[in-house]
Amino acid sequence: MSFWLVEGAYLVASALFVMALFWMNDPKTARQGVLSGVVAMALAILGTFLTPGIVHWGWIAGAVAIGCAVGVPLSWVPLTAVPQRTAISHAFGGLAAGLVGTAKFYLWQGEPENLTAFRTFAIAAEVILGFLTFTGSLMAAGKLQEVKFIPQRPVTYPLQNVSNIGLLLLAVGCGIALVFQPVALAFLFPVIVGLALLFGVLLIIPIGGADMPTVISLLNSYAGLSAVAMGFVLDNKLLVIAGALDGSSGLILSIIMCRAMNRSFTNVLFGAFGQVQQKAGVAETRTAKRETAEGAAQVLEMASQVVIVPGYGMAVAQAQQRVRELYDELTKRRIEVKFAIHPVAGRMPGHMNVLLAEADIPYDKLIEMDDINPEMPQTDVVLVIGANDVVNPAARHDKTSPIFGMPIIDADKARLCLAIKRSMNPGFAGIENELYFADRTYMLFGDAKAVVGDLVKQLQSGGSAAL
């Protein structure tokens, strides 16, 4: 009886998990998707409680209580910190998979008939993926949170890629040896765990901040795949299905991120992007034109279409609310305001949309790069706030630039471009931006929050004078 109950619950849960992702295709139905996911998870957990042989309810209750006590506060983080939270979640997912694999391996040492070649192979895969996701995600979270003892800039050393791949191959080799001799060579198991933990750290060390969106997506995929491997170990189809959904989602997001930067997976993982380029600067002699808040406000007032290009700098300066006020001032004057969102704006896929939604910008004003670029030549003013590489025209023509080929938002094609920037320091990728020296570009130097605040004040006083 319980067999059918458990399997039935798992079957319904699988369907609901698919529907949860399906409903994410539209913001209108997305919350329904969350509900569907919650119901599915509840069914899966209740179904599992019916599994025969569960006696230690104390262990379960304690662990569930700890999970809730940690999980609830973790959902209150500010939205700028969502990438870190996501990375930590990946770490927990990897840890859970790794620990279950470890527990199963040692349990089955007592009943070696269970350690079939397939199972041992699946355990090795689960443990390698789980533990490398664990340390890798912790490193990524540390880099995103800018923890002191984790270097922000990529760390590179000679033979880095060779030694990293060597480590991974060694771990896989130990895994294959275990497949043939799961009991006699059991001492190799801790070696695999250690190598996977070490590999996770070394994998993330050479990766720079600009690549974080891709890396988070990749780790998402690994966390899903470790759940799939767990499904193979435990002969559990629900685990395989849910893990595969997570894995494919992470894969798609990584592909989107890579395309948005015109880079390949191997390039992201083994490229060590993000060091400051030491190009002998002819650029040094060029000067950018400055504009005051007053002048900029007048220019904005006369426009009929304004496109705002937000970058992570906007979030760092906490300028979202000011941007919202600017949006209100401009729309009051019947000026069409749109936001141009580059796929890699922010620190994880879709991050910028969430940050602007939090500031109450209606989501139909958040336009993807491919849809906004054809409108750029008809745009009167482009306002770049804290974005840099994603508007650098060098990506289109300068073959020596590290970002050559990356799709960009065509801010330089608008009639006029205003760029807010703290100083002329190069951006995240360490590349000088030609846009700032273009004829039609005017710079507004200062903290994004302060500058946008000034613009709003100018518009407010100008508006009242006109009335």
């Binding site: 994410m24 996911g37 809730c68 685990l239 893990g243």
Partner: protein, 133 residues
Amino acid sequence: MDLGAGSVQNRPVMPCAPLLAAATAQPTATAEGGSPAEFTALLFVFLLATFIGLGVVTRVSRLLHTPLMSLTNAISAIAVVGSIVIAGQDHAPLVNLLGAIALAASMTNIVSGFLITDRMLRLFKKPGGDKRP
């Protein structure tokens, strides 16, 4: 072929004995689990689920990629299923401890993943300039 026949023999031979039914209710521990047939069946499930996942996720609005990731995060915490069994069954305490840590980690992901996804999705206001007071 005979592999399939073997697994049929293993399962519903005893419709009347509830004790035996309870034993077969946990196919993981029987010799049937981990067999090549079982493994390839799971491979098929994996393959199809991946294709469904790819199909469904490519349709997800780009607006919602951050909530998508936190939602899939919560979904992949389905590892909770494996953790519960290991934490709850009668094993050496150390094994139970491993299971309990895994369970706490998965539970954290479930709780925080669903909560933060919903919190983010509530921010996406319907178009049409409705302003909050």
